[in-house]
């Protein structure tokens, strides 16, 4: 067990946690944008910055990547941290002025306006979509292209992806809602990935309920012999089983 001091309070925690995970455990709130429990820390947004004092030396570091070590003192909201975090949010606000999560964060921190040059992006380049698609969904449909302030997330060659499952996890985890998924009739469209996928039609009710590659993936992953119900939407699965029950009772 390691002993540290965080915001003036003593805390004891088992080894192997980051300062962010420790804070979460004991109820200390540190804002984050690019952290997700499923993929861990990345260190891109810099919003979770805290002050860490070790052996008398103070430094600013991201709490998501800072391992808890015995004897450190952590300040999650000192003047230095506040100043730094506010300016980072100013930078993000200038980049994505319409992103609600950034607007909320700015309000929370008392950032009323931004002095940085205005842009009109929706993506904060947090990398969650990339990492989720690569490490969790494991199809690696999107990635980072270009460098510096030309960096963006896109599909290889910026054309229709041939590996995208259409699961929508990217849109789900996106903090700003930059990724829009449109379900139109028998197609699922993800404009940001230049991708359109066909959907599976429910054998019973005719509703289009899942992108084709997603269902294929599920078939591969864990369903062994049991795929006769896969052509049915979840609602119809219940109905068919209920009917079966009815049949048996009779």
């Amino acid at each position: 067990m390691l002993k540290i001091v965080i915001d003036g309070k003593e805390a004891e925690v088992e080894e192997g946690l980051s300062v962010l995970e420790l804070a979460e455990k004991i109820g200390v709130k540190i804002p984050t944008l690019c952290y997700h429990p499923a993929v861990g820390a990345y260190g891109a947004c810099r919003v979770c910055i805290v002050e860490v004092i070790e052996k008398g030396l103070s430094k600013l570091t991201t709490s998501c990547t800072c391992p808890v070590e015995s004897g450190i003192e952590v300040k999650t909201n000192s003047e230095k941290v506040k100043k730094t975090r506010k300016l980072i949010v100013e930078m993000l606000l200038a980049r994505c002025p319409d992103a609600k999560i950034i607007q909320d964060l700015a309000k929370q921190l008392g950032v009323e306006k931004t002095r940085a040059p205005q842009k009109n992006e929706n993506c904060i380049l947090c990398g969650l979509c990339v990492r989720i698609c690569r490490e969790i969904i494991a199809v690696d449909a999107v990635g980072f292209a270009n460098r510096g302030n030309k960096r963006k997330v896109t599909t290889p060659f910026e054309i229709q992806s041939d590996v995208c499952l259409g699961c929508g996890a990217c849109a789900f985890v996106c903090p700003t809602g930059a990724i829009k998924i449109e379900d139109v009739e028998d197609k699922r469209k993800i404009d940001m990935w230049h991708t359109e996928l066909g959907k599976v039609k429910c054998e019973r009710c005719g509703r289009y309920f899942s992108p084709v590659p997603l269902l294929e993936q599920i078939k591969k992953k864990g369903l062994r012999e049991m795929s006769d119900f896969l052509g049915l939407c979840p609602d119809c699965r219940r109905l068919v089983l209920a009917n079966k029950l009815m049949g048996r009772e009779e």
Binding site: Y42, G43, T84, A116, F144, G148
Partner: protein, 637 residues
């Protein structure tokens, strides 16, 4: 028959062959064919010499060599004749080369274009000096001695010990000057821990810029758990104006290999990588040749020096990204992933290439290792200052008379480097500052010229040692524009992962650009300082953390220049185009029409014999008229 060296006796035999090659009993002519030599026309000189030797049926040895450091004077041609000291000729061209050959044929000493004579060679590894014959027949007294030349007098060449002295593609010549003897010593007399101890005690610090104690880094890698470990050489050298590593790679590639093999033994690695930037094709070629030779002779491979070690080296090429000089981005690049840094811990010593413990060192660091082993930690640690031991290679470029590469003991002052070695500022102009450490570094002004150069001192004044680039600027350089230039470089090279670096640099650049265009506002400097503080403290890697240095140091030491731009809308150095005006002094103008003809914008009106006038709205401030006027009639305000 196998060439593989397995015993000291065999190494000595190879050395003998190398010595015969270095000091043959016929004229030996060396031509500087590193990139600096090639850029100034060395290839043509080499060809003319080669043709001439053949045509005249001369019995002479013509050899390419690396960079001697005095790049300003390239192409350099060294002549070593039996019975004479070595004579170095400067700024050669095909015509002069022919003259040189004629003189050799006639048995004369050609006395034109002489840079210096070398009366003795120093073999640093053996602590030996080999005197040349004095050439008693002719009087060489008025030829300056190489050691006494101001450019070389204060230098101590450890990492660059063989550059300009050997043919880099001749392994025997490397061995003749002591090469691979340190490897032999290590493999036959030292345990890995002893090697690390020696490097620790020497006080060697990473020469790539961070200055981390090399011995300590090696300990971490040695202690890391695992059977598979890697040693890596960072040869990405991205700083504009810095080419120290390139010169070592081109002129003495085996010194890197030997250093890495010793490192591999100490850490327990069986495989190594040299990550070279693709923009160094000659260096890559030399490295490939050197690796092949080392394999042939048994210095690399499965049974090094008779089976004492197994180690192989691969070359990995960069693809044009400055950020890949950062160690974790470099590792990502070798792995085939996008070159972007990752947070540390874990450090590469614990988890590096392919997740295995990896030790990364810079080219110059590796080049020092064989000398430390040969001469010992005590000897090395007596050079330099208390916390910065040994020497450092600097590329002295910019507004300086003696452009080139210098290797000096740590602790030498900036004044000595710029004035004694560098020869001061050309054109009688006034020194303004020296930018050290490349785009990540800062400007050091004239009142700090007595600063002893070492890691701590440079950091104290707001700059960094960096990889060793030293860009000298004079009164005609605008520091605001210089800071803007470095930021625009970093904006292009930032990987873009972290908010503070990516957005922060863009923001600072926007402000600086406004200032240089005369649109600076009250409060700009304070805002720049605020942003700089955040970019410095909050960024993920060294690129972001050091990006604000050029702005911070220039605004600290040259505040009046910033304020002139912002408040007075003036550029004191007369560089920023929106803030300067060219005006024709009607009293001095003779009406010669020269400027009218030269002006690309047709912005000058005037008739013959009548004073001309510049139409300011059309003028693009290119300065051609200013340079053309022979009557000094155009003023720059």
């Amino acid at each position: 028959m196998s060439k593989k060296i397995a015993s000291l006796r065999e190494l000595d035999e190879l050395r003998k062959r190398g010595l015969k090659s270095l000091y043959p009993d016929k004229p030996r002519i060396m031509v500087g064919m590193a990139t600096c030599g090639l850029a100034t026309g060395g290839k043509k000189v080499f060809e003319i010499l080669s043709k001439g030797i053949e045509k005249n049926g001369m019995d002479a040895k013509l050899v390419p060599t690396g960079c001697l450091g005095y790049c300003q004077k390239e192409p350099l041609v060294d002549l070593l004749r039996p019975g004479w000291p070595r004579i170095i000729y400067q700024q050669m061209d095909p015509e002069k080369a022919e003259k040189l050959l004629d003189n050799i044929n006639q048995g004369n000493i050609w006395r034109e274009n002489v840079l210096a004579k070398m009366e003795e060679d120093e073999f640093l590894i053996f602590d030996e000096k080999r005197k040349y014959p004095s050439g008693s027949k002719a009087n060489l007294n008025n030829i300056p001695s190489y050691q006494q030349l101001p450019f070389y007098k204060k230098q101590l060449r450890i990492a660059t010990r063989n550059c300009g002295f050997i043919n880099p593609t001749n392994l025997a010549e490397y061995v003749a000057r002591g090469g691979y003897y340190s490897l032999f010593k290590v493999l036959t007399q030292y345990e890995p821990e002893q090697v690390i101890e020696e490097v620790m005690n020497s006080g060697l610090r990473g020469r790539g810029g961070a200055g981390f104690p090399t011995g300590r880094k090696w300990i971490y890698s040695r202690q890391a758990k695992g059977d598979t470990k890697y040693v890596i050489c960072n040869a990405d050298e991205g700083d504009p104006g810095a080419y120290m590593d390139r010169s070592i790679l081109e002129g003495d590639p085996h010194s890197i290999l030997e250093g890495m093999i010793i490192g591999a033994y100490a850490i327990g690695a069986r495989e190594g990588y040299i990550y070279v930037r693709a923009e160094y094709p000659l260096a890559i070629e030399r490295l490939k040749e050197a690796i092949h030779q080392a394999q042939d002779y048994g210095f690399l491979g499965n049974d090094i020096l008779g089976g004492r070690l197994s180690f192989s080296i691969n070359i990995s090429r960069g693809a044009g990204a400055f950020v890949c000089g950062e160690e974790t981005a470099l590792i990502a690049s070798i792995e085939g992933r996008q070159g972007e840094p990752r947070p540390r811990p874990p450090f590469p010593a614990q988890s590096g290439l392919w997740g295995k413990p990896s030790n990364i060192n810079n080219v110059e660091t590796w080049a020092n290792i064989p000398v430390i082993i040969a001469r010992g930690a005590d000897w090395f640690s007596q050079i330099g200052t208390q916390r910065s031991k040994g020497t450092k290679v600097f590329s002295v470029v910019g507004k300086i008379n003696n452009t080139g590469l210098v290797e000096v003991p740590m602790g030498i002052t900036l004044r000595e480097i710029i004035y004694d070695i560098g020869g001061g500022i050309p054109g009688g102009k006034k020194f303004k500052a020296v930018q050290t450490g490349g785009p990540s570094g800062g400007c050091v002004p004239s009142w700090l010229l007595n600063l002893p150069v070492d890691y701590e001192q440079l950091t104290k004044v707001g700059s960094i040692m960096g990889s060793g680039g030293m860009i000298v600027i004079d009164e005609d350089t605008c520091v605001v524009d210089l800071a803007r230039y470095f930021l625009s470089f970093l904006q292009d090279e930032s990987c873009g992962k972290c908010t503070s670096c990516r957005e922060g640099i863009v923001w600072m650049l926007e402000i600086l650009t406004r200032i240089t265009h005369g649109k600076g506002e009250e409060g700009d400097i304070e805002l720049l300082e605020q942003i700089a503080e955040v970019v410095k403290n909050a960024s993920l890697c060294g690129l972001g953390k050091t990006a604000p240095n050029s702005v911070l140091t220039t605004s600290l030491y040259f505040k009046d220049e910033y304020e002139a731009h912002i408040k007075d809308k003036q550029c004191p150095a007369r560089v920023c185009r929106d803030l300067i005006t060219y005006i024709i002094n009607e009293e001095k103008c003779t009406g010669c029409m020269r400027c009218v003809k030269e002006c690309v914008q047709e912005a000058i009106v005037g008739e013959r014999r009548k004073p001309h006038r510049i139409i300011q709205e059309k003028c693009i401030k290119c300065g051609i008229c200013y340079e053309t006027c022979k009557f000094d009639a155009i003023k720059l305000e």
